[in-house]
C-alpha cells in the first residue's frame, strides 16, 4: 500500500564510492522528483521527471545522474561520493499539470552518510 517507496532507508559509505538510491511510486503519477534535505532541514529540489523525461535539473553536480526506466520509477545514482553529499534524499511524485498546482507525495527518505 506504500504510495512512494525508497530503498535503502539508510546508506553509509566511504568517500569516492558510487551508490544508487531507488524510488518507486504506485500512484499512477506522471511526475517524479528528487530532493535533498540538509542538516538544517532546508529542502532543495534536484531533479524532476515527467513521463520519463527530465524537466528540472537544478544545478546539481554531474556526479548525480537520475534515471527513469518508466514513469513509476526514478532512481538516483551518485558517483565519487563526497562528504558534502551527506544528507537525507527524498523522492516525491505528483500528477501532471504543468503549473505545479498538484500536491506532491513524498517517500520516507534515504539518509546518506559519507565517511
Amino acid at each position: 500500500d506504500t504510495a512512494v517507496s525508497q530503498t535503502p532507508k539508510y546508506l553509509v559509505t566511504q568517500m569516492g564510492n558510487d551508490k544508487s538510491i531507488k524510488c518507486e511510486q504506485n500512484l499512477g503519477h506522471d511526475t517524479m522528483y528528487w530532493y535533498k534535505q540538509d542538516s538544517k532541514k532546508f529542502l532543495k529540489i534536484m531533479f524532476s521527471y515527467n513521463n520519463k523525461e527530465l524537466i528540472i535539473n537544478e544545478t546539481v553536480p554531474n556526479r548525480f545522474s537520475p534515471k527513469s526506466p518508466d514513469k513509476a520509477h526514478l532512481n538516483l545514482h551518485i558517483n565519487s561520493l563526497e562528504l558534502g553529499d551527506s544528507a537525507v534524499y527524498f523522492c516525491a511524485s505528483s500528477r501532471g499539470g504543468g503549473l505545479g498546482d498538484n500536491e506532491q507525495f513524498f517517500g520516507p527518505g534515504t539518509r546518506l552518510t559519507v565517511l
Binding site: 529542502l43 529540489i45 528540472i56 527524498f90 504543468g98 503549473l99 505545479g100 498546482d101 498538484n102 520516507p108
Partner: protein
C-alpha cells in the same frame, strides 16, 4: 531568493493552544502549499491555496494568503501532541516546481 521563509523557526506551545506559523516569499506565485514533516519521515501535504484565494480550511487547519504582502499563515487550532512536527511552506511558480522554506519546528507540550 525564491524560497519561502517561515517564521518563527521554532515554536513551543501548550496542548490545546493555537499555533500560528508564517511564510513570506519574494516572487509571484501560482499557489502556495503547506507540508508537515514528522521527525525522520517524509513530508505530508496539508493544504494548497491558489494565488486567487485568500483563505482555506481543512479540519483544524486554516491557511491565509495575502499576495499583496507576499505572505501566508498557517493556523492550527486546539493543538495536540501529535501536531509536533516541522511545517514547511512551498511556493509554486509553475512547471511542477516547488520551492521550500526551512520550516517551523513546532513542539506541543502536554
Amino acid at each position: 531568493s525564491q524560497q519561502g521563509e517561515e517564521d518563527p523557526q521554532a515554536l513551543s506551545i501548550q496542548e490545546g493552544e493555537n499555533a500560528t506559523m508564517n511564510c513570506s516569499y519574494k516572487t509571484s506565485i501560482n499557489n502556495l502549499q503547506w507540508y508537515r514533516q514528522n521527525s525522520g519521515r517524509g513530508l505530508v501535504h496539508l493544504i494548497l491555496i491558489r494565488s486567487n484565494e485568500r483563505e482555506k480550511h481543512s479540519g483544524r487547519l486554516r491557511v491565509t494568503l495575502d499576495t499583496s504582502k507576499k505572505s501566508s499563515s498557517l493556523l492550527i487550532t486546539a493543538s495536540r501532541a501529535a501536531d509536533t512536527a516541522s511545517y514547511f511552506c512551498a511556493i509554486s511558480q509553475g512547471a511542477q516546481k516547488l520551492v521550500f522554506g526551512q520550516g517551523t519546528r513546532l513542539t506541543i507540550n502536554p
